[in-house]
């Protein structure tokens, strides 16, 4: 008995530092956020806690009637609705191409395609600001040299979201590409060979061999990507500061301004919780889907 408890005590010694850190710096803040969202914590409470009052669900009520908050929700949904299919399509296309046996130097291309993912978001966002610049930007130069009109990418509310998405897709497509590649490499060559003998062209063999093989991964990756697109912040912060005309204010950007610009920490915590509920709902769908697919993917 004492031997066992000694070993157990030692085992707890290994996990205790990490568990304490998680409790103090993660669990307590998350629970406090819920409590904070039920108060009117603002700049006056920051100065003196005596000014703090419990206000129930008032922050939530006020948010749900605030057009700026709904604007942020709408923009975030637009980012996801447009961005997820675009990013996944780019990842999948790159993975299918790189999976072809006849492509030479595949490891080199793989690293090049993945490189933007590890770059510093703020630095490459600044870089893309210049690529997207109306007068001197490379992208408009390409457009005008093929006879298309120049676009005021980041200055027009109609194009600001697509412009940021171009940057985001460039930056992240390599990540899901690697995941798709790993799955594609498990598809036996015989299947492609059989399809070829049956007279299937590249499109048919993609439809009937590749797609069924990666369908479960495709679905899960899509759902995980939605959660990622719900957390866009640095992109609008650096590239547009939420503009023009609030067209790129995301939920997280709204949270940041509410909390750290206006110091409405109570209300900002309510935003955090609404964001959490949205991501939680998406994750529940993901778990449900992965369970239905047999549970071998998490």
């Amino acid at each position: 008995m004492s031997g066992l408890s000694r070993r157990e005590r030692q085992a707890w010694g290994f996990v205790a530092p990490a568990l304490i850190a998680i409790a103090v710096f993660f669990a307590i803040p998350v629970v406090s956020a819920l409590l904070l969202s039920l108060t009117d914590f603002d700049i006056y409470a920051l100065a003196d806690l005596k000014n703090l009052r419990f206000v129930g669900l008032q922050n939530y009520e006020r948010l749900l009637t605030n057009p700026l908050f709904w604007g942020a929700m709408r923009n975030t949904v637009w980012f996801s609705v447009l961005g997820v299919p675009l990013a996944i399509a780019a990842s999948l296309a790159a993975a299918v191409i790189l999976n072809a046996r006849t492509v030479k130097w595949r490891p080199i291309w793989r690293v090049i395609f993945f490189a933007p993912y590890v770059t510093t978001l703020v630095a490459t966002a600044v870089l893309w600001n210049y690529l997207l610049q109306t007068r001197y930007g490379v992208i408009n130069w390409i457009l005008t040299s093929v006879g298309l009109p120049a676009v005021d990418w980041l200055g027009d509310p109609a194009t600001s979201i697509p412009a940021i998405l171009m940057f985001v897709v460039w930056k992240i497509f390599g990540y899901n590409m690697l995941i798709f590649l790993a799955v594609l490499q498990t598809v036996p060559d015989d299947l492609y060979e059989a399809a070829r003998i049956d007279g299937a062209g590249p499109w048919k063999s993609f439809r009937h061999v590749t797609l069924p093989a990666i369908a479960p991964t495709l679905l899960l990756v899509s759902i995980i990507s939605i959660a990622g697109f719900f957390q866009l912040f640095a992109e609008p912060y650096v590239m547009t500061q939420g503009g023009p005309a609030q067209s790129t204010v995301t939920v997280l950007y709204f949270l940041y301004e509410e909390g750290f610009k206006w110091w409405n920490l109570g209300s900002a915590s309510a935003v955090a919780f609404i964001l959490f509920l949205c991501i939680f709902a998406v994750t529940m769908v993901q778990l449900w889907v992965s369970r239905r697919l047999g549970g071998d993917h998490t």
Binding site: L36, I97, T119, T124, A234, A272
Partner: protein
């Protein structure tokens, strides 16, 4: 050897895509060597007329870039050491040491992965403010201590350590601490490199938390400084690109040197999880 046209076309296509993907980074590098104002022309020049280092000099001499580089480097290194110190022993224990409640606690941690860390940002800021850690390195490092993902990654890897190996060491009279240092750590070294790389790059590239917690300019990390600089110097394309090169180059080089560890760990954490 006969090269079929379709194969040639495919290879050419891949090369063109690679060029498009690399173009922004190459353009950034090229513009950083241009003279002031040179990039603001139409059509945009692709290579500098005269190569100059004036913007790099300006950044280090007048804009305090050396300080930001140092902050980023120190914070990323400390974050890496701390994260390893906290998560590696825990990940190993969750995989290989028996203690009551182990599986329940682990389940709870996995469940908590659903919660985005940003939820706790505001209370964490207030907590750190009340103990005077706002605008300190310590405050910036705090989130890296509590990495559930790191524990998960190490545990998955540690599961493959054979129990007989640990038992043999115990029979030889080694203490649990000795076993961890002399038997377990060497076996775990690939995943430790992976985790170290994740944390270092993660800390180096992180933006929201340092933006909130590091309020004084002298404590800014590169991304925070660059974001502030880009608001002041919108017109100075060449200067900003030099700043972006300084920010991106270290992580890109580190990734290229250790990419096999990075990619292996990434796939272990996502697909097979």
């Amino acid at each position: 050897m006969r090269i079929r046209p379709r194969v040639l076309l495919l290879n050419l296509g891949v090369a063109v895509i690679a060029l498009i993907v690399l173009f922004p980074l190459l353009w950034m590098l090229s513009v950083s060597f241009m003279s002031t104002g040179e990039a603001a022309a139409f059509p945009p020049p692709l290579l500098p007329r005269v190569w100059t280092l004036e913007h790099y000099r300006d950044l280090f001499v007048n804009q305090g870039m050396g300080r930001y580089l140092w902050n980023s480097f120190v914070l990323a290194s400390l974050a890496t050491l701390l994260a390893l110190g906290f998560t590696v022993p825990a990940g190993y224990a969750f995989a290989k040491l028996a203690f009551r409640g182990r599986d329940k606690v682990f389940q709870l941690l996995i469940g908590a992965l659903v919660i985005p860390a940003q939820i706790g940002t505001l209370p964490l800021f207030l907590m750190l403010k009340s103990v005077g850690l706002v605008n300190t390195y310590a405050g910036a490092l705090v989130p890296w201590l509590a990495s559930i993902f790191g524990i998960f990654l190490v545990r998955q890897y540690a599961l493959s350590i054979p129990d007989e190996m640990l038992e043999a060491a115990r029979i030889d009279g080694a203490s649990e601490g000795q076993i961890f240092r002399q038997v377990v750590l060497p076996t775990l070294s690939p995943i430790i490199v992976t985790l170290a790389l994740f944390v270092f790059l993660g800390s180096w590239n992180d933006f929201l938390w340092p933006l909130i917690i590091l309020t004084d300019q002298s404590n800014y990390t590169l991304p925070v400084a660059l974001a502030a600089l880009s608001r002041e110097h919108v017109q100075d394309i060449e200067l900003m690109m030099a700043g972006a090169v300084i920010t991106v180059a270290p992580v890109l080089v580190l990734f290229l040197a250790l990419q096999r560890y990075y990619i292996r760990g990434m796939l272990a954490g996502s697909v097979k999880g």
